[in-house]
Symmetry: C2
Subunit: 510 residues, 2 copies
């Protein structure tokens, strides 16, 4: 990466220094260390400023091969100078996609919560591991406070929880706990200790990590049964019951149902109460994957009916890094029954979890988890929550939903230009943009097929223009359509007006 | 947490503001945003300064219940002010254990590499997810460059790799790939598609995540066979072969051998070449868990014989966040065969990995992994490597080993006060401190039993004093002993002299 012409200049004395001239290697290196770090912070503050500026582009798109030639990513034999490292940071951010830009609607995680970010800076500096109280006392206590609070919001007075590296691993934890609870011999003897195939159920709209569990854990994806969903993407309980009965009649062993609260594409909420009724009838573990929709638990207005009945289930995945805007990554999984996590995952590593320590070792969480070491994902959430209070998260949820309703209303007011696929239950707004030539055409599967081809082209134009980012995908028989996500606190009504106008500007001639 | 008397004061105009008064919610909030973030940075810079100061304590120990009453961890209904958030940061660090202090020898990950930390600050600000090139173009290319380079160091010209959230998940990836390669029907049909029990082998000194794999993936821990190790903690190849034959004769299906390069407690290196010979003879997958010892691949002096033969194995776990000092977390897993990761883990989520995108989609890594979303763990390693160059990592490895040799020599020079358990192969130095009353006693299992009881008491005194941190554990029949780790670039010979003297000061009367 080129150092020439950088606007971020270290002083003459510091610029040519190397990593060996600063802390921790060089004890006299404190002034240079400070200067170097503050220069990096200056770059970061400028990035934050630009990211908030609607006149700035979201990205400067280049194809992979071109991008590679624009950058100098190679590692030299001998290390580069501090000035070069500063320039490396600046160039990296120049070509990074501004995921916190108010017009970035592309992912479930959008936006940049600056309090949470300050928390992550501190986390980096503290650089500790979460397996024992011994080396992370404050953070371990914060986990305990926050996870108890989240269980309380779910509706549980007891239970246990853990932070995991993403919703997929959280769902895996739920699967493992369910298997362990229902077949305690499994841990020692494995799948062969059970007669018949274990079978799990999930809607055809679920996150793909649920199917991945079946592959990872040895069931095989054929034993992850996809339950049909209705037109709005919600699991059909009668279909679930039918499929459970069918598998039982084959001699299989149904044991786990995944219920999605906020599907990835359509933002649908499976009917929890009806699904729990079936689980209780057939003695199945009920897990709710609320990685996406969990944030709505804060909202008196939107919690019901979407998440009604969640207190009745056995486990819940809930990702603060999605709707709540906590920095990536922050994912949690909660269990109604206390003690299960440890009996399921404990391997009793004697070198970490000795019982003869100075302090009460119930705070050592490492033996509950499959990762051993864990990144500190709690501080950024704790600090953010301190800043917002419960009230702040409720306001954020209501605001994101209100903006989505505004977008739906705007789309409906221009039926010639935009086609809404369904009334959303979450902040996912699914629609097609209709270019001029198709506006007089009757809506039909034929028109959908054409729109499905136009959508990726329009997305390509967006990325080239750098003014807007919205995701798209096909879904079952429906060809490519846009899925707009409003999960950034930076978004306003005017950004939605811009979004719709910009699509028209970029795509009217397609 | 109390705001009174804080030395980190925001200006009067800013102190009482809330998160709603700064970016991204308040567009006019840039000055307050900058002031707030710079105040947090001031706290972090002071922490870094204190952490490098040998006169400062490593920790201010309090028992969990006392610590909780010292802090105010509760979340209020309404959010707190910016000044309170600043104070929260300061108090959190006041009670955090300084893992980068030159006298913190407690964990495999010690030290704070400040270039890597700058990288992690940038990573937080960029706040993106690693599943697609679309939203992480520069970081995805960096992964490609760095992982290729690491494979090259292992000795492979081709192959594939991925970053995972810790060594345990990296080992899980290896297990999954092995199973998929050898039993491709597994993904779809599960364990029941195979006759007989799948069996894996690992030494009795291995990391507990290997056994955890057997539980998670449905084999059961009984089908994770522990191979005896020799006195220095290295797997005995003849025992491996004997156990493989024994399990085969029972009708079981041996398929996977884990070979540890740098065991957690003793730092032992299993003899790779001899183990690979056996794997080839019986057609078993050979995985090397070099999470700990992988860094020594950089060293011409120490690579051989410890890691000789690593280029012959099928997969390798290697954690830069350990010996290389990259910030937590940074773990990698490498495969000799290209294409295996994707065919093993692909679930083809259409909403993320569409084939009709604007760019070459081979750069979208998300479908290779079981996590879906991934934290950006590459930038902190890339920037650190740019700073050091290959040469810098080699020097670091040689220096850490040299310091460990210095410690061993010092211990041997004072046989009355310290007892060395074995000649280490890595930076793990295993020893007992011998208090005055036991110095005249013949070394025997009886004395070991007494030392095993003294060790945790001495560790407790260390933590109360806050001047030193060293881990301890029992191991097989050997009672509690200290395992000292030198993996921080901040350590010097004088810190080792201090360590030995401090143990004597704190423990002579035990």
């Amino acid at each position: 990466m080129s150092a020439s012409g950088s606007k971020y200049k270290l002083s003459k004395d510091t610029a040519d220094l190397k990593y060996t001239d600063i802390l921790p290697i060089c004890p006299e290196g404190l002034p240079a260390t400070r200067e170097f770090l503050l220069k990096v912070v200056e770059i970061l503050l400028d990035y934050i400023k630009d990211e908030s500026n609607r006149e700035e582009k979201i990205l400067d798109f280049h194809h992979p091969a071109d991008m590679r030639s624009l950058l100098s990513l190679e590692i030299p034999d001998k290390g580069v100078t501090l000035q070069q490292l500063v320039d490396d940071c600046a160039v990296t951010l120049k070509y990074q996609v501004k995921t916190g830009h108010p017009r970035f609607f592309n992912q479930l995680s959008c936006g940049l919560d600056l309090v949470s970010m300050a928390g992550e800076w501190l986390t980096a500096t503290a650089n500790t591991n979460m397996f024992t109280y011994e080396i992370a006392p404050v953070f371990i206590l914060m986990e305990s406070v926050i996870l108890e609070k989240m269980r309380d919001i779910i509706g549980w007075k007891d239970g246990d929880s853990i932070l995991a590296p993403g919703g997929s691993i959280s769902n895996l934890y739920a699967f493992l706990a369910a298997r362990h609870k229902m077949f305690p011999g499994y841990k020692k003897n494995g799948l062969h200790s059970i007669k018949g195939h274990l079978v799990m159920f999930t809607s055809d709209q679920c996150h793909y990590s649920v199917r991945s569990c079946a592959a990872v854990c040895g069931l095989g994806t054929d034993n992850c049964v996809e339950v049909p969903s209705d037109k709005r993407g919600r699991m059909i309980p009668a279909e679930l019951e039918r499929l459970v009965i069918e598998r039982k009649s084959r001699g299989d062993v149904p044991f786990f149902v995944n219920c999605t609260s906020g599907t990835t594409v359509l933002g649908a909420f499976d009917p929890i109460n009806e699904i729990v009724d079936i689980c209780q009838k057939y003695k199945l573990w009920c897990h709710v994957d609320a990685a996406w929709g969990g944030g709505l638990l804060f909202s008196k207005k939107y919690r019901h009916p979407r998440l009604s009945g969640i207190e009745r289930v056995d486990s819940v995945t809930w990702n603060p890094h999605k709707l709540m805007g906590t920095l990536l990554q922050c994912s949690t999984v909660h269990f109604k029954e206390p003690g299960l996590l440890i009996s399921c995952n404990q391997m009793s590593a004697e070198y970490l979890f000795m019982q003869d320590k100075l302090y009460d070792v119930q705070y050592d969480t490492g033996d509950k988890v499959i990762q051993c070491g864990r990144h500190n994902d709690i501080f950024k959430l704790w600090l953010q929550w301190r800043a917002k209070g419960d009230e702040g998260f409720e306001k954020l949820m209501d605001r994101l939903m209100e903006l989505s309703e505004y977008m739906v209303a705007r789309i409906k007011s221009m039926p010639d230009k935009y086609y809404l696929l369904l009334e959303p239950e979450c902040v996912n707004v699914s629609f097609w943009y209709i270019p001029t030539r198709l506006r007089s055409m009757q809506h039909s599967t034929e028109r959908e097929a054409i729109l499905g081809k136009i959508t990726p082209v329009l997305k390509g134009r967006m990325m080239q223009a750098g003014t807007l980012m919205i995701g798209y995908q096909p879904e079952k028989d429906t060809p490519n359509f846009f899925r707009n996500i409003i999960s950034s606190a930076a978004v306003t009504e005017s950004d939605i007006d811009f979004l719709l106008a910009e699509l028209d500007r970029l795509g009217h001639d397609l």
